[in-house]
Subunit: 294 residues, 2 copies
Amino acid sequence: MTATRIDGKAVAADLRAEIAVKVKAFEARARRLPGLTVVLVGEDPASEVYVRNKGIQTREAGMVSNEIKLPGTTSQAELLAVVATLNADPAVDGILVQMPLPQQIDTQAIIEAIDPAKDVDGLHPANAGRLNQGIEALTPCTPLGCMILLEKSGVQIAGANAVVIGRSILVGRPVAALLLAANATVTIAHSRTRDLAAVCRQADIVIAAVGKPELVRGDWIKPGAAVIDVGINRVAADSGKTKLIGDVHYESAAAVADVITPVPGGVGPMTIACLLQNTLTAACYREKIDPKSL
Amino acid sequence: MTATRIDGKAVAADLRAEIAVKVKAFEARARRLPGLTVVLVGEDPASEVYVRNKGIQTREAGMVSNEIKLPGTTSQAELLAVVATLNADPAVDGILVQMPLPQQIDTQAIIEAIDPAKDVDGLHPANAGRLNQGIEALTPCTPLGCMILLEKSGVQIAGANAVVIGRSILVGRPVAALLLAANATVTIAHSRTRDLAAVCRQADIVIAAVGKPELVRGDWIKPGAAVIDVGINRVAADSGKTKLIGDVHYESAAAVADVITPVPGGVGPMTIACLLQNTLTAACYREKIDPKSL
């Protein structure tokens, strides 16, 4: 058996096209466009690429994109002042402060300063709490992307045994909350788990989000399982250059699983698409429009 | 083998005695006493008993106890106004609005109106989020009680397989977050779980919080496991009266487990003791005193 490869690029492109249609419907009702502002502090090259891509895709979806670039020497007080201005700006529906932030800034203080209603990264504790309590919330983008890939692949989530490997605030914990809300029986495994292979072997759905290259092997996978690989690990390639690989050993896992995401081209492309979806959702909440009605 | 019975009454009495000592240390440093205000709306007899017991134990621990009793006809706006007054009162460290509330009041709106810093029930989404993100938070009382019972019984939590049966906001989800923070591998099972018995049989620690009388039987329990029964179910007794039983069939489970809590007398008595602990913790945070330094 060879698993069906989930094409994250294609699913993300479809989602962005759907969002673009909904943005027009939003505009017709709210008489304005949804707006996303990304704040970049310093000159991290990877962050600059990411912010540029966010801007391009935001505009392609028909939304207003703003980028605020601040020097790497920006103080916490200065960044807090920028966040306060964006919180107060009625044209801004989504605020994304690009991580990582320079050392002199307390990341958690910045996250908690963002108006939860504009927190399109879904990292504010108020959103994490609402998500965990099963209340309407802005949800971190990567976990949302994992759920959409499962749904689009026809994976039955309700009643399934789902194992999440990794317990980060960005992925592991929120994806566990989403799987639980979708009625899976959810196990959260991590570095302190005894016999991770045995835990993983019981899973109908595996979410690998641990940041360890090819940790999950084919013999960890239950035949017929769905495997979502969130890992993005840069390693040396035979060519002398580097390449990206996931937390799952793709070839051996694909020989056993029913569906599986590749790295790259799986979960990765979903993240920005979900950011756009969150921005539209935030705009709807702010305008008291039911997002499902668009 | 017969399991050791965990005496929740004794653990709770010890905890209250410890808190009373710490309250004196708090007073010496803050030059005031911690204060808890309980708000009771309407005349539910069970709630009245519970509020009275909270008042007695709060005073016995040396703290200031206030009770605000409002008629069952109180409107949401009136209750919100009371909460706002308590939020603004510097002498109030903890606010507890006794549930259930009358129909005309939106419970979630009240929970979200309480200052998270005074939310000694730990139900505000901001506290749920902080708990889920592994940040310092006020934690719901019953889950906190479960953790203390495990620790006082010498149960090894790190690396253990813990199964939480039930996913309520009050118990299941927060106790899962606490077990995860203590490095257990945590599975959350619920009504949609397939083969709950098999899931439960893998658990080194079982937390039953589902509200189904004696659902969990001895043959669901792994030999040597720790069993914490959060269920409080009132059922008809042979005498024609009623009695309280848990979610676990005590006799059969006690024959297999290593340690087990009875119902009543297990988790129940811990709840008010943990409320007192939360009130002291909230008072410490407000006075910028490290609770561990008391």
